[in-house]
Each structure stands twice: as structure tokens, then as C-alpha cells.
Symmetry: C2
Subunit: 318 residues, 2 copies
């Protein structure tokens, strides 16, 4: 397939770099400032080097022209935005209008405007896939799709690696939140402004997307429907107390009974949910097959790219 990659940060760059290994050709790449377009295939390494040289000067083309180029799949990897989910939603809209496929890592459109996305997809010859929006490399959405969303009665898990790293480190090292946050920032596991992760918003968006997928159009959810509590107020003493009782604390997101909740929760210390470091886990409760546990790396350039390329592989030819 020919890929137009819009958003050339960590994830978009990784997709561009791995595309050839999967037999695909990158025919357009665009960031906010510039684009490079070549129907015969872009020299990805050269383009990324130009971008790296401080000016984000990916190429000589206009970013808007990238959406009009020759491609089969729009790879939408621009940063998540809430509310109107722009410009990501607009990118998706244009590609579908042109009857192209869309594969997203950007959670915005799928969490905040799910119904509209599905309507646009219905009217298009192109399809929309978004495995990378939930759980990074973990095959959550394809598993739900294959087993049938109607057979999944609940989904829960650890969906944010930053928050989980902090909590599991607080627990294992007996250190306080601020100290461990600083460690996480030094390691590049937490952002300079970590609020999106530690307040639970990132995990909540993923749960909203899960809820939308499981509802199959019967009901539409947005971030406003989630009850969200973050990890900033957990004292180290709470973790010690939990441990005395054979438990620990993790930031758990759950979709069940039409409700979406994200918050710190006590879990048995060796439970599947007590993953450590930046590992993510999703537990699916199924009607006929009990519980499925899927865990792995929930974030990272190559990791997320893997999920996007798996999605590309499941698209039918146009």
C-alpha cells in the first residue's frame, strides 16, 4: 500500500521507517510546517534527517497537499486534541472524502467524534482503523473485532505507562510521588508537563475509545462521560499500607455496564493488573471464553508503528 503519513513525530517517523519492511511505500509525509510528496516513493531517511536538522523542513511541499497526493492509506499520527479533535478530524475527513483508508494513532477523533467518524467511513470506499489508539503494540481492538464486540462484557486495564511507572516505582522503592515523577522525567518516561498522563486523561481517552467500540453504535461516548481520577494525591504511605495487606495500587481504567471509570485502585500485588514499569495490560471479559489478558508495550515509536502497520495489513485493496 502507499502511505501518506501526516504527523512525523515519534510515531509517524517510526511508521515511515518500518513501512518498507512491510512492503509498503511512503508517498507523502507532512508535519505542521512542511511536506514532502513523491508518488514513486519518498527517501524516508533523507526526509527525516532534514526534519531533524532543527527546522522541521521535511520538504518543499505544502502540508495541505499531502492529503491530496497519491496514497491508499492516510496514517494519522498528529498529536491528540480534544473537543473538535482538529486538525486530526479534518485530515481523516478529507482522506475519506477522497475514498482513501485511514489508520490513526491520534485518539482525538475516535474518542471525541466517534459517531461522525463512523458515518464518514460508511459513506466512503475507505475504511478507518485505530488499533494504535489503545494500548500501543497490544492487539486490543483487533481481538475485540475478531471475537465480536457484543461478546465482550467488560474491558479494564493499565493503559498509561507513565502513571504505571510512577506508581510501581513508588511501591517498589518506597519513594514519594514528586521524587519518582522527577526520576520519570529524567528517563523520558514522563513529559515536562505530565498532567495528561498523571491526571488520567490519556487512560480515559483510551477507555472512551474502548467504550465506543464495545457499544457498536448503540451509544456514543466522549471524554466527558468518563469519571477520571489521577495519581497525584497518592501518598507513599498508602502504598506501604496496601503492601502490608498483600496489595498494591495501580491506575486502572474500566469500561463496564455502560460506565467509564479511571482511577487508582487497590489490586492484589501479584495480580495480572499489577504490571510494572511502563507495561500496559488490557483484560477483556468475554461471554464464552472467560477472561483474556493482553499485555505489552503501550507506547513508543516502533511499538505504536507496529500496531499501525498491523492495521494497514488488514485493509482491503481500494
Amino acid at each position: 500500500m502507499r502511505l501518506a503519513i501526516v504527523g512525523t513525530g515519534t510515531v509517524g517517523s517510526s511508521v515511515a521507517q518500518l513501512a518498507g519492511d512491510y512492503g509498503h511505500t511512503v508517498t507523502a509525509m507532512a508535519n505542521v510546517e512542511a511536506a514532502t510528496i513523491d508518488s514513486g516513493g519518498i527517501d524516508v531517511e533523507a526526509a527525516l534527517e532534514r526534519q531533524h536538522e532543527g527546522e522541521r523542513h521535511l520538504g518543499e511541499d505544502d502540508p495541505e497537499d499531502a492529503l491530496e497526493a497519491d496514497y491508499d492509506v492516510l496514517v494519522e499520527a498528529t498529536p491528540v486534541t480534544l473537543g473538535d479533535a482538529q486538525p486530526g478530524f479534518g485530515h481523516l475527513e478529507r482522506a475519506l472524502q477522497l475514498d482513501r483508508h485511514v489508520v490513526l494513532a491520534n485518539k482525538g477523533p475516535m474518542a471525541e467524534r466517534y459517531g461522525e467518524v463512523m458515518d464518514l467511513a460508511e459513506q466512503s470506499a475507505g475504511e478507518v482503523r485505530f488499533e494504535a489508539t489503545v494500548g500501543g503494540a497490544i492487539p486490543v481492538l483487533s481481538t475485540i473485532e475478531d471475537y465480536g464486540p457484543e461478546t465482550i462484557t467488560a474491558a479494564r486495564g493499565v493503559l498509561n505507562g507513565t502513571a504505571n511507572f510512577i506508581l510501581s516505582r513508588m511501591a517498589s522503592a518506597g519513594l514519594g510521588y514528586e521524587h519518582v515523577l522527577a526520576e520519570a522525567q529524567d528517563l523520558g518516561v514522563a513529559e515536562t508537563d505530565p498532567s495528561f498522563d498523571v491526571e488520567g486523561t490519556d487512560a480515559a481517552l483510551k477507555c472512551v475509545i474502548l467504550a465506543n467500540v464495545l457499544a457498536e453504535g448503540d451509544r456514543e461516548y466522549t471524554l466527558e462521560d468518563a469519571a477520571v481520577e489521577g495519581i497525584k494525591d497518592i501518598p507513599e504511605s498508602a502504598l506501604e499500607l496496601a503492601q502490608e495487606d498483600g496489595r498494591t495500587i495501580r491506575l486502572i481504567g474500566e469500561v463496564a455496564g455502560g460506565e467509564i471509570r479511571v482511577g487508582p485502585r487497590l489490586v492484589p500485588e501479584h495480580s495480572e493488573l499489577a504490571v510494572t514499569g511502563t507495561t500496559n495490560i488490557v483484560q477483556l471479559e468475554t461471554e464464552n471464553a472467560g477472561r483474556l489478558n493482553l499485555s505489552g508495550r503501550g507506547a513508543g515509536g516502533p511499538e505504536t508503528a507496529t500496531a499501525m502497520l498491523a492495521d494497514v495489513g488488514r485493509l482491503p485493496p481500494l
Copy 2:
């Protein structure tokens, strides 16, 4: 899709019972002794009741006619056989000759005659899928398929629930093998003749199938290529000794570096591989996304049926 279900034991019956929920019609059912065929759709409950009434008298039709009936997908759920993998292989061969799809739970053809199956599939308009042959309800093969077999560098796991139940119970209760085997047989977790499970053969067949999938035709494996050791000689003292060191013992199957090994192995007692009871787990090591852990119910009628119906859902129309 219209399903012809050959083999109406635990798994085949479950597929028949659940087919309607997934929008499919059962147009043929056959066991060794009899068959029932109806292009308009079989009354599954009535057929299973007749079978249940001690004479396995599923219907008035000849089992061989089931393969010639009107159906899109042959659901092959007859008991596993080694070597020539008959009659399962013959059922698959006939369906593919007639340009129908085949979905298997029967490990025999995929472990012992993988290359021949792939050749037949290539010459047929029908496709062959076999998720249910490895890890029951756990989406192992579809995950490998979506992520690309060439990107999976190793696969390992606990692939037999009977052996795992016995070992985890020996460890947790401090009981010996014979005692726990008897418990397992009372619970229906182990067969009267448990050798297929406790000698590691079942786990080995699953690993052989994994090895065939990962090799993508570069090399073909059969059960003879697996180095297999079972659990019958593990004294309870070995588990105590392991526990003093923070470890336990599990029957682990691994496919890596072109080799297939099944045998008891020491694992850290809270490692992901230290699943308890009849739970199965498969760990995939990937090139770009680190380790994926997939765990859940590895056996059971409805569980395995779920995997077969997920396979049916991924088949293209004929």
C-alpha cells in the same frame, strides 16, 4: 456463512450452538457414525439432543455426504491424530478441492502435514485458518498474522492446561504428582489416560504449529522435530526447593532459533509464565515492540468455539 461441522464433540457442538449468535447457519453436522444435512439450516439443539441420546444418532445422512453438502466453511473439529493426520487431513483436502474454506481445531494436519495443507490451500479458492489449534480462546495466530510472522523472533508459553493445573496445584498445596493427577481427573481437568497432556505431546503439537507459522514456508516442522519432556517425574520436593528460591516449575513450550522444546522449567514464581490452574499463556518476542503476553483459557467447548468463530469472521466471501 454456512458451516459444515465435522466432529461434534465438545468443540464442534459448541460451534454449532454459538453459530447463530454470530450470524452463521449450520447446514451440515457429522460425527463418525452419522450426519444431518439441511441447506436451509439445521435445528442444532434437536440434532445435539439426538446425539446425546446414547446412540450418537445425529441424523439420517451419511457422514461422507457432509463434505459434499452446501456450505462455505468446513469446521474441522475431529479428534487429533498424528502421522498421516487422518481422517482430518482428508476432510480438509476434500473441502479445499471443492473450493470451500476450512477452519480447524484439529491440530493433526497443521502439525504433521503443514506444507501439504498450504499447497492445497494455494490451489483452492478456499482458505485455511486454525487459531483454535494453539491456545484455545487466546488470539495467538491472528496476532502473529497481523504483526507479521517475520517480526516474531520467539514464542513461548504454557500451552497445556492439564499439566499446568497439576504443577500449580502441586506447588500451592505441597502435594505429590499422583495425588494431584487423581484430583485433576475427578475434576475432569485430566483424562482417564492423561498421557497426551502430561507427557507434553499436546503442548508440543501446538509449538510445532507455531514453528510452522513462524517459518512461513522456509522450513517445515512436525512433532518429530520437537524435544519433549513431560511432568510425570517431577517430585514435590523439586517444587519446594524452587519456592525457597522464589521460583516455581511450569511445563513451558518454546519456539526459538529454529528449535522446538517442551519441558518443565524453573520460572520466577510471580513471572507472567507462572500462570495457575488451567490458564494458558503465550509470550511473543517481537522485533519492534518488545514482548507481548497473551493469556486466557486454552481449552473448553465455548472457549475453543470462540476462536473458530473468530476465524470464520476473517474469511472472505467465496
